[in-house]
Symmetry: C2
Subunit: 138 residues, 2 copies
Amino acid sequence: MDCPLCSLPPEQVVWEDDRCRVIRVDDAAHPGFCRVVWREHVAEMTDLMPADRQHLLDIVMATESALRGLLHPDKINLASFGNMVPHLHWHVIPRYRDDRHYPESIWGAPQREGIAHAGAEAVALARAIEAALSPRSH
Amino acid sequence: MDCPLCSLPPEQVVWEDDRCRVIRVDDAAHPGFCRVVWREHVAEMTDLMPADRQHLLDIVMATESALRGLLHPDKINLASFGNMVPHLHWHVIPRYRDDRHYPESIWGAPQREGIAHAGAEAVALARAIEAALSPRSH
């Protein structure tokens, strides 16, 4: 099986545990774009046991919290498709009113050249994800 | 505030409780397309308290389970954007290899005319969501 999400370049990984990894996506138009990738090669959320599903969604929510806290985007976009790579992963994307696609999804038609806002530094992002996962933050 | 998701046409609602509603989306190219809409007008998942966030995701997962059980799509797509309508809602979309946009997201460029597969009947969908929410199904 030749799946690009089964083996990730270590330099892209900003946070990981025994069940999932958070990576930064190299997208010049959408800095701060992260993916949360389940380690095991499964296709759908409802293929996971409820406790694993919950864990993955906790990491997605912690990534959303981290990006909001660091970058203050106008909106967060969340998506899990897997049409091209059927290995369970979530896109977590900070969006800005003046970015290339707003208010379309980033998979839609570009609306303008777009302003490239600042991205998130890997160490700061890892710390913010940890902080969002801490019980004290809830 | 004139938000189309604050007041939904009752005939679109297939399932509801005191916190959220599931509606069927009228999209000829993507039958079975559902939205799970949080009742309160909030923008982001991380604006919700963790228990509410969990509840909404439980309904999204139940809707995914229901659509998989009824329609057997090739893939489920999940997304929460809110760029156009910043009222928290999730798209739950059955996808087929021969649909209009596959493997692109449904917000991307059409790939072909596309086959319109069968949709889900409202009563059957409501029952399947209830069944997926039942503790016995976990």
